[in-house]
Structure formats: C-alpha cells, structure tokens
C-alpha cells in the first residue's frame, strides 16, 4: 500500500456559528489506499454534521488519482448541503493541474496559504 497520512486539525473559526477544520494530507492518495484512508474524513463529517468549514491542506500531497478527486467532490457535496464550505490550500502545481482538468476547481477554490483560505471562509 502506498504511504499516505491524513490528520484533521481544529482551528479557531472567525465565525462562531461554524466549526473550522484543516485536513492535512501527506503522501500519495491512490487506488491502493484511498478507500480506507478517506474514511477518516467521513468520520469527521459524521461527528460534525452541520456548519462545518473545511480546508484541505495539500502542501505535502504528492499524488492523487481520479477516485480521490471523486471522494473530494462527494465531501464537497456533503459539507455544502449542510451549510458549510470547502476550500483547498497550498496545492502543488501537479495537484492543482489534475484538480483543474477534472473540473473540481469550478466548485472548490484554491488558495496559496492556510491564512488566505481562512480569510476566504470567514467572508
């Protein structure tokens, strides 16, 4: 199985009505690991069913396949249906490129830093 580590961090939200979490993904998300590892994010969604803002920190994500993007799209749908927002921060050029070609960037905005992503979510 390819190495990937997903950790979820609570951040102080500028909006008291919303919870803010950062999902850090380190390594490579591919066919050998994505079905298992992505469940950590779904568990967090189940624990926070309403008004959750999510930042995906992809600074150390080296590779993602189309199924990983399918999961991100599904997570985007679940979060936005329940009043939350999803953004992506610090994606590497190859990751931004694949997100763009698959069309996810039409739904989810990309930011250069966690701070700029937080600012966008606060607006």
């Amino acid at each position: 199985m390819t190495e990937v580590k997903i950790s979820i961090e609570d951040l102080q939200s500028a909006n008291p009505d919303k919870k803010l979490k950062v999902v850090h993904i380190v390594g490579q998300l591919d066919e050998s690991n994505v079905d298992e590892k992505i469940q950590e994010i779904y568990k967090s969604l189940e624990a926070n069913p309403q008004n959750l803002n999510l930042i995906f920190d992809l600074e150390n994500l080296e590779y993602m396949n189309s199924k990983s993007i399918g999961y991100l799209t599904d997570i985007y749908g679940k979060v936005t249906e329940t009043g939350g927002k999803v953004v992506i921060a610090k994606a590497r050029p190859n990751i931004a490129d694949i997100l763009q070609v698959v069309g996810l960037t039409q739904l989810v905005s990309l930011y250069d830093s966690i701070d700029s992503a937080k600012t966008a979510l606060a607006s």
Binding site: M1, T2, Q28, D30, E31, S32, Y63, N65, S66, K67, I69, G70, Y71, T73, D74, P93, N94, D97, I98, V101, V102, G103
Partner: protein
C-alpha cells in the same frame, strides 16, 4: 546524437495488483523527465494517465491472478505513446466498441459525473492525450493506446485524423 531520432520501446508486465502501480508511476515520471523533451508538467500528467489506465485494467480487465502489460514508445523530440493491455479475464468484460460508446457519452459538454468513479478515463486520459484508441485484443481483453505529440503542430502534419476501419480512434 543519432539515436535521438530512433523510436524507443519499453514493455513492463505487472501482476494484477494496485500495489505495483505506484512503481509504474515513479518510472513514468522519471522516464519522461530524463529521456524526453516534454515539459515537466507533462511528466506528472503522464504519471496520472498511466495510473488511470492501469487501475482500470486491474479493476475491470484482468483477474486477480493474471497480469497487465504496459508499453511505452517514444521518440525524444516527437511523441510518447502509452499502451496498456489487459487479459479480459476480469470482472467487467467490455468490448472496445462498448468502451468507446461509454467514453463518448461521458465526453460530451455538460455531462455530470455523479459517483466517486468514472472521471479518470474521460477527464484525465482523454484530456491529456492527442489520440486515444480502444482495441479488442485477438487473444482476449482490451488494448488501450494513447499518443501525445511533443509539438501540437506535429499532430496536423502526421495526418492522424484519417479514418481507419480496423480500429476505433478518437482525436481529442
């Protein structure tokens, strides 16, 4: 160097397991970076193309105790061709014509992908290749070929869009 104009062919056979695909991705990245003149972003793009084709072949085309075959053919300043072949022993027996039909249905403007799966072949392989060809292998299974030209102008010069009754070709 004289051999820069020669066609180089590399064939790799893999067991039917997603475990081995990361190695093919690494090989693709380094091979494109070090032996072709494609920009670096294309090394990453071909890495994704090979990953999607291999995953489809492993999940649908070849049974667990079988194998898939990956072939790279390139001329340094001209093109890269990638071929992935399965044995047709997998869980989803599909003909080249049916796969072409599926691809065409999903490759229409406004098509909405609703599930987790299905984006790889159309949105990654389709968008990042100049030619995409689906063929039935005589011995069973599918052979999927993509070709990307280093310079877009070569595509026109090569006259690729000529119809070929022996195969199904999509110029994207």
């Amino acid at each position: 160097m004289d051999n820069e104009n020669q066609e180089t062919k590399i064939t790799i056979t893999l067991p039917t397991s997603a475990y081995f695909v990361s190695g093919i991705r690494d090989f693709t990245l380094n091979m494109v970076k070090n032996t072709t003149n494609f920009e670096e972003r294309w090394a990453y793009r071909f890495q994704s193309v090979i990953d999607e084709l291999c995953n489809n072949a492993i999940e649908y085309g070849s049974s667990k105790d079988s194998e898939i075959k990956v072939t790279f053919i390139f001329k340094t300043d001209d093109y890269l061709k990638i071929i992935v072949e399965d044995t047709g022993t997998g869980k989803n027996k599909i003909t080249a014509a049916d796969l072409q039909k599926l691809f065409d249905e999903r490759h229409t403007p406004g098509y909405v992908f609703t599930g987790i799966r299905g984006r790889g072949l159309v949105k990654i392989v389709g968008e990042w290749s100049d030619e995409l060809k689906f063929e039935d292998r005589p011995e069973g299974g599918l052979k999927i070929s993509i070709k990307k030209y280093l310079k877009d102008a070569r595509k026109k010069d090569a006259g690729i869009s000529q119809p070929n009754p022996q195969s199904i070709t999509l110029n994207v």
